[in-house]
Structures are given as structure tokens and as C-alpha cells.
Subunit: 166 residues, 2 copies
DNA sequence: GACATATAATTTGGCGCCTTATAATTTGAT
DNA sequence: ATCAAATTATAAGGCGCCAAATTATATGTC
């Protein structure tokens, strides 16, 4: 089996010349990236039979929790993509009959996006399936493990946010 | 500031109904994904001025460690992308003068990809810069922290690999 | 009431990546 | 020696995503 470390060993040559500290940091970074990309791919494979990408799935998931519908910009923000992207995702979802777009009566710039009955059904089924799958990935993790993992990841996230502002 | 948890809180509604254990698992999963995607975006922004994507950068980086050049399929495997993808990345790198493709004398199916002088230069400069940046993301992490983080990430990775085989 | 400004959604153009199909070449079994 | 199978690289088509530009509508100010 290829470990995460092995997968990126080629990229670590440079760090090795710089001492243990940098090596550990680069390794950790690649581990996070490689794991996320593995999760993404597995996820994409799971969703492909439904013509859904991860982005579309998240939109369905979000809409499920907005029974009275939601605006594209709101969906974009919650899903973490741009408004331009959300337009494309909604196009696909509409084409496949999962959602409908409806003009807002009071502000004609606005749209209201709603799940179709079919969308409801798929969202419910996949939501259930998906959360079970995610659960299985972290099977065997204790609450203690999460208490350790979460703050570490969040520390990097925070650094990154500060970084970006500059 | 938006924390990783907040970012995905909307997605956690379902998990909340299923108890603490599942909630922690989904949270952790989203934290990994969100962090990786934040790193990817920041990385893309850093590389954009050089007309480089993360994929292209990794190819440059790999080539730097193959002084006698490398084959596309080898690069694809080490970079973790498909051969089809590597062709596109090499196209871009060749167009921008960072690499050259050369036919292998003994097997005419094969190519040898090499860095151009310009490619060497950029690879060296960016490699240095990039590893310093990654280091800065994990600034303040102790060796102890990595000893905890790494096995946790690798456990999920392992589960995922087993998953895929099935 | 007119005009600048803000906001909503979309369009456009681009890149990365994937999957599937194709073409060229080599290898291996018979 | 021949022909099927494997391997190499590429092409084609598609989706997701982004940034920047565009269009339509609303709002606030003078």
C-alpha cells in the first residue's frame, strides 16, 4: 500500500535538505492535500451515477434545509463557490430536473431556487447515504482524536486567512 | 473570522440529528476538505503570476529532480494525475517555454521531458519560495503535533483505499 | 425626477482535470 | 513470422471552477 508519505516523497527532496522541522511541515501539508483529494475523488465516484458533482450535491443538500427555497447568491456563499459557478451548477441541476428557478415577485433581480420533488427525493436519499459514508471514513476515531485533530487544522486555516489578507 | 466549523455548519444539520459521534466525524471531514481547498486556492493565487497551476508546478518540481528528464507517464503517476491530464499540463509548460519534449531514440512511443533553462530557473526559485510558504503555514507546530496529526490523517487515507478496492 | 451606486444573476473566456476513444508502436505467444 | 495484447502519448468532449465583464433592477441622494 502506498502511504500518504510515500505518495509525496518525491516532493520532499528539497525539504530534506533543510532539516527535520521543514520536512515535517511539508509532509503535513501534503498529507492534508492528498487526503482531501482522495476524499474528493471517492466522493465524485459515488455521486457520478446520479449525474451529480460534489458542488451540485452540496447545493441539493443546502436546499433541503431551506424548505421555502434560497437565492443563488446565498447558495454560492454557503457552498463556498462564486456566483458565476453557482449559475452553472444550477443550470445542470435544472436541466436534470432536480431544482426549479422562479422569479421573486417583489425584486425582479432575485431568483428563488427550490428543490423539485425529484430533487427532494435524491437529496434525502443521498444525504443519508453520504453522511453514513463520511461516518465510515472516520470509523474508530474517538472524541479525543477529534479534539486533537480539529484545533490543529483550524490553526493552519487561521494562518492562511491572515496570509490572504496581506 | 469564519472558522472551518462555521463554514460547514449548514451541512451538519443532518448529522446533528444523528448524535454527537456522527457530528464529529462529518465536522472533521469538512475541516480537512475546507482546509485543503483553502490551501489550494492560496497556492493558485501565488502561482498565477508565473502562468503556473499547482499541477504544472508539481511537474516542474518533479523534473527538477530528474536531471536526465522523465517520461510523461512517470510524471503523471508521481504527480497523481492521469496521463491525459499530464499531456495538457505539458502542453502548457511547453508553450510557455518551461520544458521541451524529445523523442526517445530506442522506443518511438516514448518521450523524454526536460526542463528548459528558463524552466530550471523558475523551478529553483519557486521551489524555494513555495517550501518556505508551506513552512509558514505550519509555523508553531511542534514535532509532537505532527506525530499526532499524521497518523490520524493516514488512518482515514487507509480506510479510503480499502473502500475503493471494494 | 435624474443619476450614481449597489446588488442580482448571468455570460464569456479560460484553465485544470477527468473519462473515453484513438493512433502509433512494441512485445509476447504461438 | 504473425497477430493479439499491452503500452505510450494524444485527442475529444465534458464538467467544475474562477475572474472579469455584462445586463437588469433597485436604492439613495441631490
Amino acid at each position: 500500500m502506498v502511504t500518504l508519505e510515500q505518495k509525496y516523497c518525491a516532493l520532499l527532496g528539497v525539504a530534506q535538505e533543510k532539516g527535520q522541522a521543514d520536512l515535517s511541515k511539508m509532509k503535513a501539508c501534503f498529507e492534508v492535500l492528498a487526503l482531501a483529494s482522495a476524499i474528493d475523488r471517492a466522493c465524485a465516484r459515488r455521486l457520478a451515477p446520479y449525474q451529480l458533482s460534489e458542488g451540485k450535491f452540496i447545493v441539493l443538500f443546502l436546499l433541503q434545509q431551506m424548505p421555502q427555497g434560497g437565492a443563488p447568491n446565498e447558495l454560492a456563499e454557503r457552498a463556498g463557490v462564486t456566483r458565476g459557478t453557482i449559475t452553472g451548477l444550477l443550470d445542470g441541476l435544472e436541466r436534470d430536473g432536480y431544482i426549479s428557478r422562479q422569479q421573486d415577485a417583489t425584486d425582479r433581480r432575485r431568483l428563488i431556487v427550490r428543490l423539485s420533488p425529484q430533487g427532494e427525493e435524491v437529496a434525502a436519499k443521498l444525504g443519508e447515504e453520504h453522511s453514513r459514508w463520511i461516518g465510515s471514513l472516520f470509523e474508530g476515531f474517538s472524541e479525543e482524536d477529534f479534539k486533537v485533530l480539529s484545533p490543529l487544522l483550524n490553526r493552519v486555516w487561521k494562518t492562511l486567512e491572515e496570509d490572504d489578507v496581506i
